[in-house]
Structure formats: structure tokens, C-alpha cells
């Protein structure tokens, strides 16, 4: 068996272990959130008996470990439980399965993340490579200044600035990105253009600067000098001799930024009223809707772990010492 395959299997195993630990942490942390769902729903005036009965109905009276394994068993079979909210005090039950709440929001979030990534990654790579190629030139300094400026502003500021320019002054894009799943793709793209643009501006600097730094870092190597002595052009040296050795750090930064696009964009969602998973999670925290919080955080954890795994695998297969051992 190829040793790479073994390494990847090992990483996969570790990922599963990490996920397990994360699930324990998530479950126990949520337990320690102040306040009680029963009390919150039934109001301050509710009798202790009523609260206790309500808690029993939701299973909140069972010991922690029992509830954990119950929940975990559900997660493994694709059942994230039932949302607490929607339950009335008068016996009416409008509650919905957590998965039904999360699924459409998650798909919206993934759509926005992919849309942004499709713009941001090629753009950062292009800018990173060209600034490395023409380092210390006017072009290099201009690009660096602009990207640093955009990353230095708070997200909401960039968002409102874009709204001001592209929705108020020039009515190019809508200022609200209230999409729904039945819209055609073109409409989806049109409506999410401003949030995607905002996120692009926020993450490009990081990825572009790492690409530039990783390449420049390699230029001091003797094999780059050798390539110069071989009479190769600068473009060839950067693309063919430096870039293939620079992937590991670049991919890691890309993975971090992609993870951010999935889990960290709640402010942008709020500004554009974009129905993403971030807002769902905030709402759930406010309503102390524990199953929904747990479901969201599990998805976030899976996203981080998968993206890091992906970055690891890319780092391994772009390293010839690992790919072609002696």
C-alpha cells in the first residue's frame, strides 16, 4: 500500500477522534449556559411543578451522560433531535426537527461560501503570484495597500460601504439578499453579489499575502538561483520552480479562510438579511434552543475538521519527499 494512503487514513482516524471530543465539549458547554428553557418559555410566574413537568417532557431531567448518548446516537443516524421552540404551553406542538431547520440555512451558507471562494481564491492566487513576481514595484505596493486597507475595516463597514455604492448611488445590486431555494441560479447570484463581494474583500488580503510570502520565502533557495543561471524567465521560475514548493502554507491559509466563510459570517448575514446558518445559531442561542445550537456547532466543527484534513492532504501530496519516498 502506498504510504500516503496510510497517512491519510491516520489523519481521517484522528479527525473522527477530534469530532468526538468536540461533540463532548459542545454538549457539556451548552449545559452550562445560564438560564433554563422551561423557565424562559413558561414565564417567571410559572409554578415549579409546571416547570418540572415541562422539563420532564423535553427529557431535561435525565442525567447528563444519558442525554449525551441519546443525542449522539441520534446524530449518528442523522437525527439531530427536535427543536425546543414552537412548543406551546397549551399542549400545542408546532416544533420541527432540527435537521429541517438547519438544512435550508446550511445550503444557503454553503452557496454563499462557494460563490465567494470562486471569486476570492483565484483572485488571491493571481495577486499573490504577480506581487511576488514584481515584488517591491509600484504594483506590488498598491495591491498590498489596498488589500490591507480592506482587511483593516470592520466587516459591517465594508458591507455598508458597498451597499452605499452599489445599491444607493448606482443601483446595480439589491441591498437585501433575501434569497429562497426556489429562485433560479442567476437570481441567486444577483442577490448574493454584495455579500459575496464583502466577504471577498475581507479574506483576499490574508490569502494573497500568504501566497506572496510563501513564494518569496523560497526565492532565496539555491535551486532558484540555479534556475536563474539556467537562463529561465522570471515567470517560469515563479510558476514552475517556486510555486510547486509553496503549496503547503498557501493551502492551509485557504482552508482557514474557507472555514471562516462557513462559520464566521454572521455579521455579513445580518447586514444583508441573508438567511444563513449564522443567524439561525444566534437566534437559537437567544431562545436557548439547545438542540439547534448543538446541531449548528456540530456542523461548524465538521467544516473545520474537513477543511483542515483537506489542507493536510494537499500539503502531503505536493511534497515529493512524502509522495515519492526513497
Amino acid at each position: 500500500m502506498h504510504p500516503i494512503f496510510l497517512t491519510i487514513m491516520k489523519r481521517l482516524g484522528l479527525s473522527v477522534l477530534t469530532l468526538f471530543i468536540v461533540s463532548v465539549i459542545i454538549f457539556s458547554t451548552v449545559e452550562f449556559l445560564p438560564g433554563d428553557f422551561g423557565q424562559a418559555i413558561l414565564g417567571q410566574a410559572a409554578l415549579p411543578d409546571t416547570v418540572a413537568a415541562f422539563r420532564r417532557e423535553l427529557g431535561l431531567d435525565l442525567p447528563l451522560h444519558v442525554r449525551y448518548f441519546d443525542w449522539m446516537g441520534g446524530v449518528l443516524t442523522g437525527d439531530l433531535g427536535t427543536s425546543f421552540s414552537g412548543r406551546g404551553t397549551q399542549g400545542l406542538d408546532n416544533s420541527r426537527p432540527v435537521i429541517d431547520l438547519i438544512a435550508p440555512r446550511l445550503s444557503n451558507t454553503l452557496f454563499l461560501a462557494s460563490f465567494t471562494a470562486l471569486i476570492a481564491i483565484p483572485l488571491s492566487l493571481f495577486l499573490g503570484i504577480t506581487t511576488a513576481l514584481y515584488r517591491n514595484s509600484i504594483y506590488d505596493r498598491t495591491v498590498n495597500t489596498i488589500t490591507l486597507t480592506t482587511i483593516s475595516f470592520p466587516e459591517f463597514f465594508v458591507a455598508y460601504l458597498l451597499v452605499l455604492i452599489f445599491a444607493s448611488f448606482y443601483k446595480v445590486f439589491p441591498s437585501l439578499a433575501n434569497i429562497s431555494p426556489d429562485m433560479p441560479l442567476g437570481e441567486l447570484i444577483y442577490r448574493s453579489a454584495l455579500p459575496a463581494l464583502t466577504l471577498t474583500l475581507v479574506i483576499v488580503a490574508h490569502m494573497m499575502r500568504m501566497t506572496r510570502a510563501a513564494i518569496i520565502n523560497l526565492l532565496a533557495n539555491p535551486y532558484i538561483e540555479m534556475a536563474e543561471f539556467k537562463g529561465l524567465s522570471r515567470v517560469r521560475i515563479i510558476l514552475h520552480h517556486a510555486l510547486p514548493n509553496a503549496w503547503a502554507p498557501i493551502v492551509n491559509v485557504i482552508a482557514m479562510n474557507l472555514a471562516y466563510l462557513v462559520v464566521g459570517v454572521v455579521i455579513v448575514e445580518v447586514v444583508f438579511v441573508y438567511p444563513g446558518i449564522g443567524q439561525l445559531m444566534i437566534d437559537a442561542v437567544t431562545a436557548r434552543d439547545i438542540p439547534v445550537i448543538q446541531g449548528c456547532v456540530m456542523f461548524f466543527a465538521v467544516t473545520y475538521i474537513l477543511l483542515n484534513l483537506f489542507a493536510d492532504i494537499i500539503s502531503i501530496i505536493t511534497n515529493p519527499r512524502l509522495l515519492h519516498p526513497r
Binding site: P222, Y223, M226, F229, K230, G231, L232, H240, P244, H324
Partner: protein, 542 residues
């Protein structure tokens, strides 16, 4: 071969006149090459020789029209086959470099791109510059691999650099330089990083291929014996100036300048060998391995008599340094024992008392990395004085000055940082640090290999004097036979983790030899231009 009409034999190929190059360091420009002329005809090999800082590499690059970052060509003309390299555009220069002038660097391992297969890198310029089609270039490369006596020439090109040994990589790099069929190759210390036995093969391949293709070459090295085998003419450089140039045989037979003679300085020390029956260190039947991997030491036994120098010689990977790690306790052996003054030492470092540690000290190859760059000499030497001897205050300072005197430095060095010392001075401070503990045995691991000849000579003489005055015993690890002749009483020859021979220097370095010692000794270049030819003839006759 290329039958370009301008290619007449013995026409002048390269003419460099009055070259002045400045280098920028310490916030100012220094002149590093001061008015050197080089004239090279087609098919000739010029040897550039000098110590570090002589400007030989800088000149080699200038022959390609290059200057390193932080350097600039101030004055001088460089004409290559009628073209003035100073006036042509970057694009024209690129077309010239890599196709008509090529370069072979010192460290092949670092000069190959780790991400691409060797064959791709070998033919890259030839194909990119459109000199030949990819297929033709690859076929040519295979022939070159064959000519350079690379093992499995058909397959080796498919490998990545890390899959090939240093000596082989150096030959692949020569093939890469030959691939475009250049008129001139610059060899910049191509064998310095190799073991002597490997060096012989690489030298032979390079010489044969340069002859065969009638390529001109500039061969840069600090080793006169090596350049004697390769060059038709030799130019000796010092501080960026020409000391002497002459035809090779003439230079070796009748060098005119004292500086030229000093280039084989170490070879002029001869130590009279001393015998002693008082054994200070004995390692017995030691097996050792790193992290459960294959054994690197197999049943190794070495004896060091008191007040004597035992030299361990062998190629890289023979287990010399591992033996030192076992003695110092840094690596726990799987089997065997270490006896010091007749008593067994605990095998791991943690088990040893401060007194046991004090008696064995170590000096390393690279003085640069063996000292904390932030500590002044006072702290570097003061620390062992406090730690082992409990000296402090005025007593410590007095001893500090005594130590500096022992290593022939004055008190002005006390407050200097390592970065303010020359290579030789750094190594002297490391010696003083070892002496600070009043040791009985010092292990010297390749302590002179990174130094220039004259500096080497000074260090070796210092070590000999210290031994005579203080009665210290040395275990001296080296791959350089000239150093062994200069300092050793006894010699241990190691090969692939085994001791091949141990005995008095006079026994080991004179016939009859076991076959490996014979191979090792015969591979050391000698100051005779016919040495390589004679050796190859002798070996092929066997």
C-alpha cells in the same frame, strides 16, 4: 557536437579584463574583487583557487554576467565569444546563460528543485530555449548519464532529487550543465561536499566529459590537490586579487609566492607518534541505533590511551559521530559498555554525575551553531567555570583570562559576541569552553573541516600544544587524511558502522592495508597533476 562556424579551436572564448566588484555589508560597500583578468581559450580548463572570501565564486558568476544580490560590478569588461556581457539585455543574457555558459553548484542537493524529476530539470533549458526537441534532449541526457557512469542511467532520471545520493546528484548536475552543449561550464566547488572516495569518481567523470566534448571550464575550489587534477592553468586569488597564475605543473613544482605554498599548510605538520599503555577511555562491543532503526554501530570497540590522540576516520555515514554520541551519553547504546579510567560510565547522560560529565568535553564542526549568538565570550566561557568548578566573581574572571591566553587570544575578546569573531577565533573559543571544565578527554568532531587551510593549521598546532602542556587526550573525528597525519598517534578506520582497523598511525598509514583503508587512502587527492590518471589506471588494472 555543435559545428558552429565561430567555433575554431583555441580561439579566445572568454576575456575578462580589470574586473572590480563591490559587495555591500555592514552598511557600506567593500571591494571584493580588485582588478582581476581572466583569459580562457576554447577547450581549456582554468582553476581558480583561494580561501573563503577570496572572491573566486563572485568571479565565477561574473563570467556568466551575473552578480549576486548585494554586489555590483563597478568596472571591467566581460567578453564572451565576442559579445560584451555588460551591454546586452537581460533577455539576451538569459539566452546565453544556460545554453552557452552553464553552471555547476557546490551543493547539488540544494540546487535541484525538490518538486521535479531529475530528467525534466536536466533538459529544461535545452528544451525551453528550443535548442533541441524534448525527445532528442532526453536521449542526449541518457547518454550523458551513461558517460558520467551513473548507475541505472535509464531510470535515474525518473527519480526525484531526494531519492539520489549526493555524489550521484553532483553528476546529474554536471549532465544538466552539459545538456545544452555549452562552450563554457563554471564548476563552483563541485566536490567539496563529497566524501573522498566519491570525489574521485566525480572528478574522473567531470574530467572525462569535459575532454570528450572539448568544453572550456572554470573550476573553482579551495583544494589545490583537486584543481591540480582538473585544470590546465591555475590562478591563485587572495582578497580579490591575483596572487599568481601559471600553468598547472609549473605552479605545483615551483610556486613563486609564499601564499601559494601556504595553501597546503596542514600538510606540512607532522606529529611524532606517542605510545602509552595507560588507557583513559575504552568502548567495548558497542551496538547502537537511532530510534529502533537499522544499526549504525556494529560491535564497535575503540581504545584511547592517556595523553594521546586517536583519530577516527571514515566517510559520512560510517558511524564516526554516532560513536562520539555514545561516548558522551547522548545516545544510549543497545549493547556494550563505555569505560573511563577503567570504570564503567552510565550509558545515558542523565545517569552521569557532574564530575563524570566534566571529564569528557566536546568540540563541534560548526562553531557558529555551537555557541549562543546572544552570549558574549564572557558568558560562553563563564558558564562551564561556574557549573563544573563553582568559580565566581574575581576567581572566575581570572580563570577566564587564563583560558583566553591558552588559546592565544587577548582580553579584548571577553566582551565580544560570536558574530564579531572570525571562523578560526570562534573555534578557539569553543576549544577554550571545553578547556574550562579541566577535562581529561576532548572529543573533536570535524573541528577543522569548515576552516581554511592556514586557519586549520593554527587550530591543529594549538591543539597539539595544549596536549603537550596539559596532557589532554583527544578523540579526533575527521575525514581528512592530511589532518590525521598532522595530529594523530593512533588511527581508527570505520566503514559502515564497523571498525575496520585500529593501530598506530605509522602502521595504518603505511602498507599493507586492508582493502577499505587502501581505497580510502588512495582516494585522497595528491599534489601531483598525474595523480588522478595514475589512480584510475591502477584501479582499472585491478
Amino acid at each position: 557536437m555543435n559545428n558552429n562556424s565561430t567555433k575554431q579551436k583555441n580561439g579566445i572564448l572568454l576575456e575578462m579584463q580589470n574586473i572590480h566588484i563591490d559587495g555591500y555589508s555592514d552598511d557600506q560597500w567593500h571591494r571584493i574583487v580588485k582588478g582581476v583578468d581572466i583569459t580562457l581559450r576554447r577547450g581549456e580548463v582554468l582553476g581558480l583557487i583561494g580561501e573563503s572570501g577570496a572572491g573566486k565564486s563572485t568571479l565565477g558568476l561574473a563570467a556568466m554576467g551575473f552578480v549576486r544580490a548585494g554586489c555590483k560590478l563597478v568596472k571591467g569588461s566581460i567578453r564572451f565569444d565576442g559579445t560584451d556581457l555588460n551591454t546586452i539585455s537581460e533577455r539576451e543574457k538569459r539566452a546565453l546563460c544556460g545554453s552557452r555558459i552553464t553552471y555547476v553548484a557546490q551543493s547539488a542537493a540544494a540546487s535541484f528543485n525538490p518538486s521535479h524529476r531529475l530528467i525534466e530539470q536536466t533538459v529544461e533549458t535545452t528544451v525551453r530555449q528550443g535548442l533541441r526537441s524534448e525527445n532528442v534532449a532526453k536521449t542526449d541526457a541518457l547518454r550523458l548519464f551513461q558517460d558520467l557512469q551513473l548507475p541505472e542511467p535509464g531510470i535515474i532520471g525518473q527519480r526525484y532529487p531526494h531519492q539520489v545520493s549526493g555524489g550521484q546528484l553532483q553528476r546529474v548536475m554536471t549532465a544538466m550543465a552539459m545538456s545544452p552543449k555549452p562552450d563554457l561550464i563554471i564548476f563552483d566547488e563541485p566536490t567539496t561536499a563529497l566524501d573522498v572516495t566519491t570525489q574521485v569518481d566525480v572528478l574522473a567523470s567531470i574530467r572525462q566529459i569535459v575532454d570528450q566534448y572539448h568544453t572550456a571550464a572554470i573550476y573553482i575550489t579551495h583544494d589545490l590537490a583537486v584543481v591540480a587534477q582538473m585544470a590546465d592553468f591555475i590562478k591563485v586569488l587572495r582578497y580579490g586579487e591575483t596572487v599568481e597564475d601559471a600553468e598547472t605543473r609549473k605552479m605545483l613544482k615551483t610556486p613563486e609566492k609564499d601564499y601559494t605554498k601556504s595553501l597546503w599548510a596542514v600538510r606540512s605538520i607532522e606529529k611524532e607518534e606517542k605510545q602509552s599503555d595507560d588507557i583513559i577511555l575504552k568502548i567495548d562491543g558497542v551496538d547502537a541505533a537511532y530510534k529502533g532503526k537499522t544499526k549504525v554501530l556494529k560491535n564497535v570497540s575503540i581504545v584511547v590511551p592517556r595523553g594521546c590522540t586517536v583519530a577516527i576516520v571514515g566517510e559520512s555515514g560510517s558511524g564516526k559521530s554516532t560513536a562520539a554520541r555514545v561516548i558522551t551519553g547522548l545516545l544510549e547504546p543497545m549493547k556494550g559498555q563505555v569505560l573511563f579510567n577503567g570504570e564503567p560510565l552510565p550509558l545515558i547522560l542523565k545517569g552521569r554525575s557532574k564530575e563524570q560529565l566534566r571529564r569528557i568535553q566536546m568540540i563541534y564542526q560548526s562553531a557558529d551553531t555551537a555557541m549562543n549568538p546572544r552570549h558574549p565570550v564572557r558568558d560562553i566561557l563563564g558558564r562551564p567555570l561556574e557549573f563544573y568548578l563553582g568559580l565566581s566573581g574575581a576567581k572566575r574572571d581570572r580563570r577566564l583570562l587564563e583560558l583566553l591566553e591558552l588559546i592565544e587570544l587577548d582580553e579584548s575578546f571577553v566582551d565580544r559576541l560570536p558574530s564579531e569573531l572570525s571562523g578560526g577565533q570562534k573555534q578557539r573559543i569553543c576549544i577554550a569552553r571545553a578547556l574550562a571544565a579541566n577535562p581529561e578527554l576532548i572529543i573533536c568532531d570535524e573541528v577543522t573541516s569548515a576552516l581554511d587551510q592556514i586557519v586549520q593549521k593554527g587550530i591543529l598546532q594549538l591543539l597539539l600544544r595544549l596536549q603537550a602542556d596539559l596532557g589532554i587526550s583527544y578523540l579526533f573525528i575527521t575525514h581528512d587524511i592530511a589532518t590525521v597525519r598532522a595530529i594523530a598517534d593512533q588511527v581508527v578506520v570505520m566503514f559502515q558502522g564497523c571498525v575496520v582497523e585500529q593501530g598506530m598511525k605509522s602502521e595504518i598509514l603505511n602498507p599493507p592495508y586492508p582493502s577499505y583503508t587502501q581505497l580510502l587512502l588512495s582516494s585522497v587527492p595528491e599534489m601531483d597533476p598525474d595523480w588522478l590518471s595514475d589512480l584510475l589506471e591502477e584501479r582499472s588494472a585491478l
